[in-house]
Symmetry: D2
C-alpha cells in the first residue's frame, strides 16, 4: 500500500477527560481530525482548498480500537497515513501513541467521499484535481 | 421585571463529566441552550423561525456562577427566564438544579442580539416581528 | 442472534452541528451513549449499578457508517440492540433515524469489556452478576 | 494590578464550529483552558502540581463577551493574564485574537477557588504553597 504519513502532537484538554479519569472515547475522533488536517495542510490540500474546487469530503465510515488509556497531562502523538486507492475514496489510518507511557492507545480508520458542493451529489469517480494532487505527492510503501 | 419561564429536565452524559468526576464547567452552556430552546419552542420562536424572518441571534455575552457540582447519574432541571427589555437584546437568566441533591448548582445569563442574515449587520432596534411576538406572550412578574 | 432493544429520541443541540450545517460525525457516539444508557437503565443495569458490583465497562471498539445527515431542528430516534454473546463482551448495535426526513442516517457498533475497579485488570470471563442479569432479561430473536 | 501573562496559539477544529459557520460560543472556554494551562505550566504550577499539594481549583465563575467571530481555518491567539489578589481566589483575564482578521473576538474572565482534595472543603485563605509560588513569579504591572 502506498501512503503519505504525518504526525501531530496533542495536548489533552481537561474537558476531554471523563469521570473515569481518562480521555472519553469519542474525543479520539478529534485527535484523528488534528492529524488529518496536519497531513493535508503539509501537502497543500486543506478542506478550504477542496471546497474551492467545488467539493465537500464528508466522513462516511469510522472505526476505532482502544487498547490503552490517556490521562490528563499525558503527552500524546497522533500518526496519520493517507492511503492511495483507485476508488473515489479518501482513507486514513491512525495510531495514537501515549508518549508518557510509551503505549499504543488507539488505532483507527476514517473513510471520506467526494460530494459536489453545488448539489450535494456523490462523486463516483475521483475528481480531476485530486488525481493531479495525488500524482505530485511523495508516496512511500507501507 | 416581566419574564417568560420554562424548564427542561436534562440527563447528564458520561462524556460531559471530567476527570474530577463532575460535569465540566463549559458544558453548562449546553444545558442553558436546552432550556432556551425549550422556552422558545413552547412559545413559537425557534432559531429556525427567527432565521426565516431574516435574522440570526448570536450570543454576545455569557455569565455563569458555579455553586455546587453535578455527578454522572444525577437528575438535573434547568430553569430559563426570558426577560422583557426595551432594547434590541434577548436576555435569558438560568438556574440549574441538581434534583438528586436538591442543590442550586449554577446560575447564569446569556445575552443575544439580532443580526441580519443578508449582510450580517447588527440590528439596533427590535425587529418588528419580535415586537409582535412579545406582545402575544403571557409575561409574568418576577 | 438474541437481543434486547430500546430506543431513545434525541433533540439535536446547535453546538452539535458543524460548519457544513449538519451534526458533526463524532457526536453520534454521544447519541449511541444516550440509547445505551436508556436500554441499561430500563433493564436495571446502569453504569453505577455495574460500578457497585466492582466493574468498569470501558469501550474497546467502535464502528460507525454514515448514510445521511441530520440538520439542526430535525427529529432523531436512536435504536440500540444489546446482543447476547458467550464471551465477556458487551456488544451494542445502533441505528440513528432522522424522523424528519425518514432516513436511516447512521449505523454503528460499540464493544465493551469488563474491567475490575480494584486493579483495572481485564475480566476474561463474564462476571457472575452479569450472567444472572442476562438470565432475567426478555431477549428476542433478531 | 500585578499580572503574569502568557499566550497560546490555537488551531480551530472543524468540530468546534457550528451551523452558523463559526466557532460555537461555548468552545471559547476550551481556548481559555489552553491559555491558562500554558501559563501555569510555564510557571511551574500545573493542575497536577496543585493536586499533589492537596488541592483542586474548581472554576466558580466565568464571564465571556463576544465581539467578532472565528471561522474554521482562521489563525487564533489566546492571551491570558493571571491577576495577583489578596483573597484565596485565582482570577484570569483573557483575550482571544483572530490573527487572520486582526480582530479581538472574545474577552473573558474565570475565577477559581482552592478546595481540599481530602474532604472537598473550600479553603478561605491562600494555601501556603501558593503564596510561596506567588512570591517567586515575575509579576508585571498592567
Amino acid at each position: 500500500m502506498m501512503v503519505l504519513h504525518s504526525s501531530q502532537d496533542i495536548t489533552v484538554r481537561f474537558s476531554e477527560t471523563d469521570a473515569m479519569g481518562v480521555v472519553w472515547h469519542g474525543n479520539y475522533l478529534k485527535f484523528f481530525e488534528d492529524a488529518r488536517d496536519k497531513l493535508t495542510e503539509v501537502h497543500g490540500l486543506s478542506h478550504l482548498e477542496i471546497y474551492r474546487k467545488g467539493y465537500f469530503t464528508p466522513i462516511v465510515k469510522t472505526e476505532l480500537t482502544y487498547k490503552a488509556s490517556i490521562l490528563y497531562g499525558d503527552q500524546v502523538r497522533v500518526h496519520a497515513w493517507l492511503e492511495r486507492h483507485d476508488s473515489a475514496k479518501i482513507i486514513f489510518r491512525y495510531e495514537v501513541i501515549n508518549l508518557t507511557t510509551n503505549q499504543l492507545t488507539t488505532e483507527g480508520m476514517t473513510m471520506q467521499v467526494f460530494m459536489q458542493v453545488s448539489d450535494r451529489t456523490l462523486e463516483l469517480i475521483k475528481p480531476a484535481f485530486y488525481e493531479v494532487w495525488e500524482n505530485e505527492q511523495p508516496w512511500t510503501e507501507k
